[in-house]
Assembly symmetry: none
Homo-oligomer: 250 residues x 2
DNA sequence: ACAGAAATGAACACAAACGAACAAGTATCC
DNA sequence: GGATACTTGTTCGTTTGTGTTCATTTCTGT
């Protein structure tokens, strides 16, 4: 097998699957990973593929929603901390709801390998978990291109039909006085539907959003079972949330 | 074997395979590698081949390996032809259903830029059209990881709620005697639901699938409005399909 | 947060392929 | 018949592609 044929084959596979892995290719093409990596490096130099750690993807796919969700989100360290706390609450066999948004997204990485069922309306979550050990269920309906999620009536309606053990919700603002608030009514209706379907509601909310009210208030604090936030939150404030009846993790 | 004949033979092989190896040619043509290399050098000087280490490739392969790699996938040329015909049937403003499967997928590339609404249960379709000019609507439900699509009860039920102008369906088998057949009941139920919701049903089916029955027969030919296939289909056979009441494009 | 695993790239080694130069064989022309 | 042009094969030093080792980076799981 010469290198031209190999690259040809490589591009074929890539075109069929959208992504390839170095180890797989090395096995299929009867060669070593280093050779595949060199091939990919050449193709990448020409812009025909985009390298990833462990493989490559089509250039089009590289701009995908997952990358979009991953890149340069504000407060990433806090969000990862929050998601680790959240992941610790999950038991194998659980059915979860994962909300769309940058706060909840890092949770996907932490649960890829576990035996779970995840209901979601978020495209990045869907793409991140598709092909993993997790069984994914999608809330259908119209795709909101800006938010990379399904936000319509149908999505909310469908969510109500599922019974989930734990819902992990994001929110735009949260305050003791006015409860949960959002920048969009659509997001709010999805959150409400998911909360209604869940045995326990976890609100994932970094400390910068505490005591912030956004334009649309849609639920009282009592909707939430557990507030998951980061150590940046003042202890006194968290104590007040606890007094209001919430379990608090930080 | 003289010089001219050798070069001719060489170009023939190159045309068939897209690439050649010096060592192989030397063996086949009962000569030594240096001779082949000199031949290739001459052809390369004229631009008829592109030299590589150990062999040569067609110029068009060297120029656009991606396009060439695509052609290598099964029946892809036919599928692209079919999708071009299908795309010509689409009017701006239409709402479409696009089925999952390799036959219908190339349609996405052809409509990315158009003002359309597309309902689908296919993840690759969703992926390809997310972020394009097309408004995407997803049939929700459980994700079938192997088929990269939603195939459950919920998906079928949701599809019935949408009214679409044109449904573009794929199928595993099709015959005059036994109608449409599939390899999976789930796929069949999605196809039926989409067909029921559509004003007009286009069946995209390359000629290799004509008069092939698969294990699960799920609908009569009358479900289909228009059969879109490729020129590889025998004219006499297409005439019979026309007689059976289908519009046929090839 | 931390430790272990996997992937990566650089440096080196080896084999295959390469081109240049030269030698040998064949056809053509005077 | 001998000179010439042309093609083919051989030798040898060089280049190119591939595989191995190892330190480093990146990812993943507890």
């Amino acid at each position: 097998m010469n290198f031209q044929l190999r690259k040809q084959h490589l591009l074929t596979i890539l075109d069929e699957h959208g992504s390839v892995e170095v180890a797989d290719l090395a096995r299929q093409l009867q060669t070593t990973p280093i050779t595949i990596r060199r091939d990919l490096a050449q193709l990448a130099a020409k812009g025909l593929v985009v390298r990833t750690h462990g493989g490559a993807v089509l250039p089009r796919v590289a701009k995908d929603p997952v990358a979009f969700a991953r890149k340069a989100t504000a407060h990433l360290a806090q969000k990862e901390h929050i998601c680790r706390l959240a992941a610790a609450q999950i038991t194998d066999g659980d059915t979860l709801f994962i909300d769309c948004g940058s706060t909840t997204f890092p949770l996907c990485r932490l649960i890829r390998h576990r035996k779970l069922r995840v209901v979601t309306n978020s495209l990045p979550v869907l793409f991140e978990l598709a092909g993993s050990a997790v069984q994914v269920v999608v809330a259908g309906g119209e795709v909101d291109a800006e938010r990379q999620a399904m936000h319509g009536l149908v999505a909310a309606e469908q969510l109500r039909r599922y019974q989930v053990d734990k819902a992990f919700l994001g929110v735009d603002g949260l305050s003791l006085g006015r409860g949960l608030s959002a920048n969009s009514e659509h997001e709010a209706s999805i959150s409400l539907a998911a909360a209604a379907a869940a045995r326990h509601v976890y609100l994932l909310c970094d400390s910068s959003k505490l005591e912030q009210d956004k334009y649309f208030q849609f639920a009282p604090l009592s909707l939430v079972g557990t507030l998951v936030t980061d150590p940046g939150a003042p202890a006194a404030l968290l104590a007040q949330y606890r007094k209001a009846g919430l379990q608090v993790l930080a």
